[in-house]
Symmetry: C2
Subunit: 441 residues, 2 copies
Amino acid sequence: MDARVEPGHGDLRLENRVPHPNDPKLRSFVEVSQNSDFPIQNLPYGVFSTPAYPALRVGVAIGDVILDLAVLENEGLIDVSPAYGVFAQGSVNAFMALGPKVWSSTRAKISELLRHDNPHLRDNKELRSRALVPMADAKLHLPIAVSGYTDFYSSREHATNVGVMFRGKDNALQPNWLYMPIGYNGRASTVVVSGTGVKRPRGQLKPPTVEVPSFAPCKRLDFELEMGVVVGQPSAMGGMLTEAQAEEMIFGFVLLNDWSARDIQQWEYVPLGPFLAKAFATSISPWVVTREALEPFRVQGPEQDPAPLAYLRQGKPNNFDLELDVALRAAGMNEPARICHTNFKYMYWSSVQQLMHHASSGCAMNVGDLLGSGTISGPEKNQRGSLLEISWNGTEPVELPGGAKRSFLEDGDSLVMRGWCQGDGYRVGFGEVEGTILPAE
Amino acid sequence: MDARVEPGHGDLRLENRVPHPNDPKLRSFVEVSQNSDFPIQNLPYGVFSTPAYPALRVGVAIGDVILDLAVLENEGLIDVSPAYGVFAQGSVNAFMALGPKVWSSTRAKISELLRHDNPHLRDNKELRSRALVPMADAKLHLPIAVSGYTDFYSSREHATNVGVMFRGKDNALQPNWLYMPIGYNGRASTVVVSGTGVKRPRGQLKPPTVEVPSFAPCKRLDFELEMGVVVGQPSAMGGMLTEAQAEEMIFGFVLLNDWSARDIQQWEYVPLGPFLAKAFATSISPWVVTREALEPFRVQGPEQDPAPLAYLRQGKPNNFDLELDVALRAAGMNEPARICHTNFKYMYWSSVQQLMHHASSGCAMNVGDLLGSGTISGPEKNQRGSLLEISWNGTEPVELPGGAKRSFLEDGDSLVMRGWCQGDGYRVGFGEVEGTILPAE
C-alpha cells in the first residue's frame, strides 16, 4: 500500500514509518531477557546515581541497564525545548510538568533510540558507555518529589474483609462506600524508595483488655499492597475534572506499600481517621511505569451498582490487568515466600475516578501528588493484600516455609511486592518494592 | 554598676548594652500607633511584592510599613552568611531553614536597625525610600511554602461541644481524646493567604432524610478559628522529639481559618476522617509572628488530668495569652460584627505537645510544615470558634446587626479573624485573616 496516495490516513502512514512504542514486535539492541520487567515496550522513569558520578539524574530502565536521559539531552538526542536540564535533576517532577504531549513524544524518541535497527546509539561505543549504566552499579532514589500523598480505600474485597472482621457480615461496607472512593490525606514526608529500612514505630497502644494506653513499639505491624498513581499535571483550585482531564493528568504508576500499625490505628482513628499509624513510612518502587505503557492492558473494572453519580461516571475501561505478588522473607529464610497473588483489575473505584473525586470539592492537584489505590485484595483467600486479612486479624497465622508463623510482621522480616502486565512474549513490569523491618530501638 | 567588674553577669552586661527585642520600652523611628499589631516588639515575617517591583521578597511588618529584608541583605545590613539571598524569595522557608540561632540574631539586628535612637537607616533618606515600603502599596502573599498541613483538635471545649451535639452529654469526649492530641493530615495544596476568595465547595450530600446522596453545593459551610504553628526546622524519620527540641523547631504562628463543609464531612468521614470537606481552602494570615515575640505572653495551660504519658510531658508553660476575635460581614453590612471572642490560652494540648506527638511514631517533620491547633473555643458561649457551635448545629442562628441571621455561611459573607497579645502600652498582633465566600458557580 502506498501511503502517499491514501488521503486521510495520516496516522496509518506514521505507523508504517515509526512503530508505536507499545508495539509488541519491537526489539532493542540492549539485551532484554523474556522475564525482564523492562523490555523496550515499558521504558519506566526513575532517578539514579552512581559511585563514579554521584549527582542524581533521571533515567529509563531497559533490561538490566539504565539509559541516562541527562546524557542524551546533553548530546542533543532528546529535545524537550524550550525546557532544558529537566533530566539532570533529583526527581521526575520537572519532566512531568511538561505535560502529556512531551511525555509521549519523549517516550517515542527513547524507543526509537533503543530499537535494534537504529545504529545511532547502538554503534557509538563511546556514547553507549556514557549513556547506558548497568543497574547493578547504580543507586536508585525516590523517583518523585512527593507534593501530597493521598491514600484511598477502593478495593471492595478489602473493605468488606475489614468490615466483616470489625463490624460483622451485615454491616461490612459503610453506607458511603459504594457512592464514592473513600480516601484520606496521608503523610508525604515519609514516602521512601524501595530498599529503605522501616523502623518499627512506637505509639499509644490500648488493647481492649487494659484501662489506660501505654507508649510502646507497635505489636501489630502490617503491610498494605497498593498501586500508587503519580499525578504529573496540576489542576486549579476551585475546579473540577472530566474523565479525560483526569486521565491526561496521570503520568504513571508505582508499586506502593502502605505500612500500617494496626494497634496504633485502632486507638487513634476515631473520629478523624488514621494519622500516626500510617505516618512512619510508605514505600514505593523506584520505577514509574507510564500510563502509556499500560495502555495495552486496560480492562473493564467490576460493575458499579449503584451507578456512580454523574461527576464520577467513566466512559471507558480505566482498570488494568496487572498481576501483583507479595512475598515475605523472615530472618533465616533463603528466599521470600509468596503470601499473596492478586490483580489490580479487581479495584472497584478506578484511579481516574479517585482523581475526579479528589478534585471535585475544588481541591487543587499538584505535579508530584501520589495517590495510593488502597489495599488491593481479590475475591479469593490467597488474594488478600494485607496480613490483617491473610491472618484474619491474627486468628489464622500464615505458616512460612521452615515453620515460622506470622500474624503480623516481626523485626528482620523483609516484605517484597512485585507487579507486572503480561504481554505476548514480554511483560511490562514494575520491578519490586522491598522493605525490611528494623527494631524500634 | 560597672559590668566589667561583675564576673558571671555576661547576660546582664549584654542587656545593658543592647536591649532585648522584646523590651517593652523599645521605640522605633517608624511611627507606630498604640493600636497597631506591629510595634517594634513584634517584627513578624511575611512575603510581599509591589507594582513597581513585582518580584516576591521577604519583609518584616513595622507599623504601617514593610521593611524589605532583601534590600537590607543586599546593603550588607543583615548578614546570614554563609547563606545569601534567603530574603529574595517567594517564601520564608529558606530563612527558616537556617535555624533558631539565626532567627534570633536576625530579629535582634532588625530591632536594632529600627530603633528610634539608631541613625543608620533613620537618617539615610535614600535607603529608607528603598527599604521601607508602605503596606498599602504592597501585595501580601502566602508567607510559607507549605510542606505538609496537619490539623489538630485540641480544644477541650470545642471537642466537647461537638461531642454533645452529635453523641450526647455522656459520651461527649471520645475515650482517646484526653490521652493524645488527636489530629489528621490536611491538604497542603489549598492553603491560601488572607484575602483569597473561597468558592463554596461542591460535594456529596446525604442528609438523614434522603436515601441516596446528591452532588451539590455545600449547604452548611463553616469557619474554624485556629492558630497555625509554622515548623521551621526538620526532624529525622524514625526519631522522636524532646520538649526542648520541639520548641526550638517552632518558627512562629499564624492565624488560620480551617474552612469546613459540615454536610460533606458528615457523609464522607467514616471511617477514614475528614477529606474533601476540608480540602477546598484553608486561609492563613500573611504575617508569621515569631515564637520569640510571643515569649512575654507565655502562660500555663489548663491542668491535664490524666497526666500525659511521658513522651508528651512538658516542664514549662507552653500556652499563650493571645486574644482572638471573629467577625462576620454579610453582604450589605458596613462593617463586620463580632461573633466570637476567645483566647488561645484555653487550648488543652499545647503546640509543643502536638509536635512531640506528631513525630513520636517516627514521622519526619519538614521546614514549612503547618500545624493547625484545632478550633479554639473557650468555656463561655461567646467563645465558640465555629458557626456549628455558635448556632448549635443550626438550632440557634446568630442574629447580625441589620437583622440577618446565620446558621452557616452564605455567599458574599466575609469572615475576619484577628489575634493579638496585649502588652503594657503595646500589642503583639497578627493582623487578620479574611475570606469572602464566592458562589459555587
